[in-house]
């Protein structure tokens, strides 16, 4: 019997790359409006939480912290980013100065995609396990491929056993009635992240299917450029670090307030079903999943401001 070739994962195909590059980020980003996020960051910023960005690596940037741990799984390439995708994702997840969702979080960088934007499935599986062992609380993977790979799935299950949540991009194949969710986000233990536009609708490129869990901003996202300054990119690749940053805030709040952490994806589902705005077809649907997360409500609910004395 012919041996099955392991799948190759890539930056999700059909990614829309915008050419705009800015020397300075606009003072108010559509996906992180200051009137909402300033009050959120006053309460929670992802402090002590480690987000692992498994991507094309990362370059130094004034809005990005030095990684607490970094490793390349690409033969012949250091963990530095020669593509731009990884640096942009890191900026959205935890960039400082208003470009990232969890600006207090710590960064782990695993280069599992080459400067050309592709990587071996075995390298990605190894990257997940490495990030978990490095203490990652959240793993963000803006990558995907067309088929399942057992070791990657096992690595995602391993992450849950260590209290680490894995969030991955749904893919950029759009939806026309056929399930277009990519792997590993299609795996049952992985959180599957779709993309929305600034008007709140689902992005036309965002893949759809019953595995979709939630949708976060992913079109025209301004974040750190690997060449310095800021760049605009679109895709579920950009929505995923947003979701991962939000997960970091949730984990900080839960841990700080004294809750027991989630140990299975079912806990995430139960939580997020209560704290998303239902869009599209009523209830969980193939385009929005549970819906769009209600940031302020999440923070308010987890922050337990009624605890006055202890």
């Amino acid at each position: 019997m012919a041996k099955r070739t392991p799948p190759v994962y890539t930056v999700p195909p059909d990614l829309v790359l915008e050419p705009d590059v800015y020397a300075a980020a606009p003072s108010n980003l559509w996906h992180l409006p200051k009137d909402i996020w300033s009050s959120i960051w006053a309460k929670v910023s992802g402090r002590t939480i480690k987000i692992a960005i498994l991507d094309t690596g990362m370059n130094s940037h004034e809005d990005l912290p030095d990684p607490v741990s970094a490793k390349s799984f690409i033969s012949g390439q250091s963990w530095r980013d020669g593509n731009g995708h990884g640096t942009h994702c890191a900026g959205t997840a935890l960039g400082r100065n208003g470009i990232g969702v969890a600006p207090g979080a710590e960064l782990i960088v695993g280069k599992v995609l080459s400067n050309g934007g592709s990587g071996s499935s075995s390298g990605i599986a190894a990257g997940i396990r490495w990030a978990v062992d490095e203490g990652a609380d959240v793993i963000s993977m803006s990558l995907g491929g067309g088929s399942s790979y057992g070791p990657t799935n096992s690595a995602i299950d391993y992450a849950w056993t260590k209290g680490c949540i894995v969030n991955a991009a749904a893919g950029n194949s759009g939806y026309n009635g056929r399930n277009t969710i990519g792997w590993p986000s299609k795996y049952k233990s992985c959180i599957c992240n779709g993309a929305t536009r600034s008007d709140g609708s689902i992005a036309n490129f965002s893949s759809g299917g019953r595995e979709l869990d939630w949708a976060t901003p992913g079109q025209a996202i301004i974040s750190a450029s690997y060449r310095g300054g800021y760049a605009t990119m679109s895709g579920t690749s950009m929505a995923t670090p947003f979701g991962s940053g939000l997960l970091a805030l949730i984990v900080e709040l839960m841990r700080r307030e004294g809750q027991a952490e989630w140990t299975a994806k079912e806990s995430f589902n139960a939580f997020i079903a209560k704290f998303t705005e239902d869009r599209g077809t009523p209830g969980h649907d193939v385009r929005f999943g549970h819906g769009v997360p209600l940031y302020t409500e999440i923070v308010h609910a987890l922050n337990n401001e009624n605890i006055q004395w202890a």
């Binding site: 002590t48 700080r256 004294g258 299975a264 337990n304």
Partner: protein
């Protein structure tokens, strides 16, 4: 000499010239342990020929409720100091036997608290009924949290709180201190529910309604005492909580126990199920589980949902 006869002679010669290994019992493990310390005694270095066996003879002076689990010749247990004794020595024997004879190994274990560990001091009695109620409520949720490491750290924070000029400012210091401890929990401590403790004791303090800093500080000292007593209790083997029991099921050939622990244990968050015992025989795990008044033995790998429905 025929071929058959020659072969028989060769086989007999081979058998007679091969060294015959007599059974030899060997016990390895610590000579001294602290009360409550997880202890492993191993007989795996024993030599027993095929078809032979080995068995443990625990010290008959061990208390009736002493518990252990054997897994592949490895005995996992913990010892408690008998009431009123500063230290105690227990003797364990391991008997190995096969067709060539038998051998007995003996191992003594001194159970003694760590040098310099102060003896538990009874806290001063609490006079106020409302403070008694506060401690009772705190005790309940501290036990449920089942996390002596965090309990100890929380107690230390509360003991170190210096009264601020106002009751509100003091409460802010308390909340910041508690949240810092909780945020920096590591490993298994992150699985513990301390939010329920916070909500419960907060509700009690609201009922007490302290109006000045000294009254509030008194509440904090009661909470610290409650947390400290939980820390002390953690040094004793616990009889009903599965967390301790599960540490004894990890053995060198306990693959399925480990599998069960990794896959199913994380789902047990409500502690409704008590694991009374977990052993393996021929690498097949056996769990005695209890939920409410229902007790049942499960052999082999069983999904948690099936366990729960079987117990109901």
């Amino acid at each position: 000499m025929g071929i058959k006869k020659a072969l028989t002679w060769s086989l007999l010669t081979l058998l007679l010239t091969s060294p015959l290994l007599a059974a030899e019992a060997v016990i390895t493990g610590p000579d001294q342990v602290r009360p409550g310390q997880f202890t492993v005694l191993s007989s795996q270095e024993s030599t027993i020929a095929d078809g032979g066996k080995g068995f443990w003879i625990p010290d008959p002076s061990l208390p009736e409720d002493w518990q252990s689990s054997e897994c592949g010749g490895v005995l996992n247990t913990a010892f408690e100091l008998p009431p009123g004794k500063a230290q105690v020595t227990y003797y364990f024997h391991y008997v190995a036997y096969d067709g060539d004879g038998h051998s007995v190994a003996t191992k003594s274990i001194l159970v003694k608290p760590k040098e310099g560990t102060p003896p538990p001091v009874d806290p001063p009695p609490i006079d106020s009924p409302s403070l008694v109620e506060l401690k009772k409520k705190s005790d309940t949720y501290v036990v449920k949290a089942n996390d002596s490491v965090t309990a100890k750290r929380l107690a230390a924070v509360l003991r170190e709180i210096q009264p601020a000029p106002s009751i509100e400012a003091t409460a802010n210091l308390v909340r910041d201190g508690i949240e810092e401890v909780l945020l920096t929990r590591e490993d298994a401590q992150r699985n513990s529910d301390w939010l329920s403790w916070r909500l419960a004791v907060n509700q009690e303090i609201v009922a007490i309604a302290p109006t000045n800093v000294p009254d509030y500080m008194e509440c904090l000292q009661v909470l610290a005492t409650s947390l400290e007593s939980a820390s002390m209790q953690s040094f004793l083997p616990r009889k009903t909580e599965p967390a301790v029991k599960l540490t004894v099921i990890v053995g060198p050939d306990c693959h399925y126990c480990d599998l069960w622990k990794q896959r199913e244990l994380p789902k047990i968050t409500d502690w409704e199920v008590t694991i009374q015992d977990a052993t393996t025989r021929m690498q097949i795990p056996s769990f005695i589980l209890k939920k409410g008044s229902s007790t049942k033995t499960f052999v082999g790998y069983t999904p948690y949902e099936t366990l729960l429905s079987s117990l109901e």
